[in-house]
Amino acid sequence: MQIAAMWDLFVTGILRGGLYALMAVGLALLLGVMNISSFMHGELYMIGAYMGWFAFVTLGLNPILAILFAAVGSFIVGMVIERGFFYPLRRRSKEGWLLNAYLVTVGLSFVLQNAALAIFRPIYRGIRTYWTGSIRISPAMSISADRVMGFLVAVVTIVAFWLFMRGTKIGRAIRAVAQDERGAMLVGIELDRIHTLSFGLSSMLAGIAGASLLSINPAYPSMGLLPLAKSWLVVILAGLGNIRGAIIGGFIVGIAEAASYYFLGAGWQDVTSVTMLIIILLFKPSGLFGTEVKGILER
């Protein structure tokens, strides 16, 4: 294997990894704060992509504004979904809340996907590029500006999210809820508001991922399945609910996928994923970076 090919593989992996990290962080946030195993994350990604398309093509906004539009839009969508479905669910069911919440996400994913199919029809809505031109990183290789910008958007978003969680009062409140709900309630944190906010944030991260990659993955009703599977792989690999782990895990999975594509060809990525899962579950089921957030064993 040549150095150039190796370098190519690495760069592709890192660029992909940015997306997976972005998706997985949102998933980990939901798992950590609300303990919801979300299977509608892919559909939130899809909603983000459609919003980005709408803002960029229909409204003719500039790319950064289009992505911001999608971010705000999917943030609102997420909060509405939480208020409309998970809030009443939380009030009504005590015992089987975990399983029921998970099934509600499955149902909603089904609904959203088919709603998109009914409204937008099975037509690919993509764009050629957000930013034209390419960036030369070595004599043998250049990357389109779009991919680099997509990656930068992911990095900036993750850093901003990280600072938000560390530095602001609300971010600290979210982390407090993730650590101990009862304790958080005792010091006067309003659980319901934190839950709604976390769901909105998680949805926003997925929406940004969807919008910023519009030129590579055109908006389509069933586009969410692949990112969903990958982000679940990342989350299990890193440890359920571990946000820092999800960021690193995203890049690991990105590189692993690029390598699988290079060595085995198309169609084998899912087999690679399963192999990775088997290895991690055999040797370190708590994930690479461990987690004690909500535990891995049934309680």
């Binding site: 009504r92 199919l117 579950l281």
Partner: protein
């Protein structure tokens, strides 16, 4: 005189239902199976047969699905994958090794059971979400493999599978599936009514309490999971030889969601809830076919609303009506 006569009839009835319970059947289910078996006597309409067969096929799957979700509280998120594995194993062995279709069904079931056992072994000691995710990924990988290995499975072009019976009518298939579903129902409900079922319920309701009373949860979960996967494979094998053409789409994730929704709308932990609901939902859906996506939206919303507002599902409603009548 009259009185003693009717008494003895009632006595006979209750003795019969006691016997039914002994072999794992209940009166309403028995009546349902008998009605189904008599349908071909009254109509020769192929369309009706097909509709009934599809309803029964989905109902039987929902039953096997509910055996896991409703009792040990773990979701088999790769159900369609196990079903598809059974279908492809059976079809490929019959085509390439010249096995009889009946042996094909059995090998399909065994293959799905073995894979189910291995997935369960790896994940069932952990939280339920791990088993669900693992099964889901196995399903994606199986679908990927079936799509990629074109020289074996012909990929998306579709594999032509020899029919199980030398007939163009659907009615004989309906009888096979009827026997199969009855067998599955009997096996599952015998397990549920035995000590095994007690252990399953204990694990599903309160894991800690189950563990304290000396139940090894992983072992029981593994038994349950493997049995459900085996039946998924069996039904898949039947489907392959009935429908005659297999594409990797049989393992698509959306089919798992369809079965999942059916089992949960039907009512968890009842076995028969999903079976009965299938006979309502599938024909209605067939009728609503022109609505396209709208009906799938309704289907998904039904699941969501059932989860939020009435987790006992359709079976819960029926049970409530039954109680009212008794009173």
């Amino acid at each position: 005189m009259q009185k003693t006569h009717s008494m003895s009839v009632i006595g006979l009835g209750s003795r019969f239902s006691a016997w039914l319970r002994y072999v794992g059947l209940s009166m309403p289910i028995m009546i349902m199976f008998v009605i189904l078996a008599m349908v071909p006597l009254f109509t020769k309409n192929e369309y009706v047969f097909r509709l009934l067969l599809m309803s029964l096929f989905f109902g039987a799957q929902a039953m096997a699905f509910d055996f896991t979700t409703g009792f040990i509280n773990v979701v088999n998120f790769g159900f369609a994958g196990f079903r598809g594995l059974g279908a492809y194993t059976s079809a490929l062995l019959v085509i390439n090794l010249g096995l009889s279709t009946w042996l094909g069904f059995a090998t399909g079931a065994v293959a799905a059971g073995i894979l189910g056992f291995l997935t369960g072994l790896l994940t069932l000691r952990l939280r339920g979400i791990y088993a669900a995710c693992m099964a889901w990924f196995v399903q994606l990988a199986l679908m990927g493999l079936a799509t990629v290995n074109v020289n074996l499975t012909r990929g998306a072009l579709g594999l032509t599978v020899p029919a199980a019976l030398d007939t163009t009518s659907t009615a004989p298939y309906l009888y096979i599936l009827l026997l199969m579903s009855m067998g599955i129902y009997i096996v599952l409900s015998i397990m549920i009514n035995s000590n095994l079922g007690l252990a399953f319920r204990a694990i599903g309701q309160n894991l800690l309490a189950a563990r304290t009373s000396g139940i090894n949860p992983t072992r029981y979960k593994l038994i349950n999971w493997t049995v459900a996967c085996t039946f998924a494979g069996l039904l898949g094998g039947f489907y392959a030889h009935f429908i005659g053409i297999l594409t990797p789409d049989i393992m698509h994730f959306k089919h798992t969601v369809e079965i999942l929704a059916l089992a949960y709308i039907g009512g968890r932990g009842t076995l028969w809830g999903g079976l009965v609901t299938a006979f309502l939902v599938i024909p209605v859906f067939e009728y609503l076919k022109p609505l396209m996506e709208i009906r799938l939206i309704i289907y998904g919303m039904l699941l969501v609303l059932a989860m939020i507002f009435y987790p006992r599902g359709f079976a819960g409603i029926l049970q409530k009506i039954g109680e009212m009548i008794k009173r």
